[in-house]
């Protein structure tokens, strides 16, 4: 790829990204009342979206080989228990991440 071809490719990536990010805000601008149905969606979507994000961040886990998803499962349970116990976001995230790193580096 030449330099110009690279620039065009990056330009296309930027364009597609911008469209997707700005679209909802352009269709439903501040100065117009948002339709009731979209307001409803805005309220109920996040619950499902956070679920989707968890699955998304685990999408390359192979449950048929390697650790069979066990290190991920254990680390998630540790994150949850820690969060139920201490209720401190940073501590829970740290505990989950460190235990996962120890699991994949030394156990599995």
């Amino acid at each position: 790829m030449t330099f110009n071809e690279k620039l065009i490719t990056i330009g296309m990536i930027i364009l597609a990204t911008l469209i997707m990010r700005f679209l909802p805000f352009i269709i439903f601008p501040d100065n117009k009342p948002t339709p009731k149905f979209i307001q409803y969606m805005g309220k109920v979507l996040p619950g499902a979206v956070f679920s989707l994000l968890i699955i998304y961040s685990l999408k390359s886990v192979d449950i048929l080989s390697g650790g069979h998803g066990l290190p991920e499962l254990i680390a998630i349970v540790i994150t949850e228990l820690c969060h139920l116990w201490k209720k401190q976001m940073l501590i829970s995230i740290c505990a989950g991440t460190v235990s996962y790193m120890l699991l994949v580096q030394f156990v599995f």
Partner: protein, 244 residues
């Protein structure tokens, strides 16, 4: 430009001060993901300048990582557009969820919409800064802190390249951990957990059926349809209150 008043400066400082700890998990996550991405760019013969500018102008982890293969393959701009379009589709959901919270925030809103990546959306949607903090500026600082971490991590990786010896296997799990914690916080607030259950079940089934590279769009369609169908139920269950 008008000189900033003392009050405005102290308000901005306070918002930045409160926002910073919320961005710390991202410092760890983007720091290391960025390093890995930057190294990947350099290994593929792309100058660190590409990494630097793409982190500012594209700003999206999965998009940029796929971008490495787009930039090293044969020239196909339409393909680059379509692939990015599909990868970014989930941002439509973020946008719809943030319409209310991002209302009337002035010019900074343009940057905040541009910079609303997965993690920034998750924090800005769920965080509850103290009442004396300007929520708009709080969200602005979360957005820009996160992007700066991404730029620094990636550019370092690109410049240092393969000199870095990785003993940080597994650090990327910080993102999963963060999503799990935010999920739990959202769970406490929701009066009905139907949406969370639907999200988990539909995404998991779509992942199994369509595979890691193609499951986002079917999941989004499934989530959208199921939430549309359960509108009556959810509205009854939760009443007409705002904190659905």
């Amino acid at each position: 430009m008008k000189a900033l008043s003392k009050e405005k400066i102290s308000m901005l400082k306070r918002a930045a001060y409160v926002a910073f700890p919320h961005s710390l998990p991202i410092l760890a996550g983007y720091g290391f993901l960025g390093l890995a991405y930057g190294i990947c760019m350099s290994v593929n013969g792309l100058s660190p300048w590409y990494t630097f500018f793409m982190c500012w102008l594209v700003y999206g982890g999965s998009t940029q990582i796929v971008g490495v293969s787009l930039l090293t393959a044969a020239f196909d701009p339409l393909n680059a557009f379509i692939i990015t379009f599909v990868l970014c589709a989930r941002h439509i959901f973020y946008g719809i969820s943030m319409l209310e919270k991002y209302k009337n925030l002035g010019l900074k809103k343009i940057y905040m919409i541009f910079g609303m990546v997965d993690e920034t959306f998750a924090i800005n949607y769920s965080a509850e800064p103290p009442k004396d903090v300007d929520r708009g500026w709080f969200m602005f600082f979360v957005t820009i802190f996160n992007q700066v971490y991404w730029v620094i991590g990636s550019t370092l990786g690109a410049v240092l390249g393969t000199l870095i010896n990785f003993s940080t296997e597994g650090i990327e799990f910080v993102m999963t951990s963060m999503f799990v914690v935010i999920f739990m916080e959202q769970w406490k607030k929701d009066k009905s957990h139907l949406s969370a259950y639907l999200g988990l079940a539909i995404s998991a089934v779509c992942l199994a059926v369509f595979g890691a590279d193609n499951f986002i769009i079917p999941s989004m369609i499934g989530i959208f349809l199921s939430l549309t169908l359960s509108k009556k139920y959810l509205e009854r269950k939760v009443g007409d209150e705002n904190d659905l």
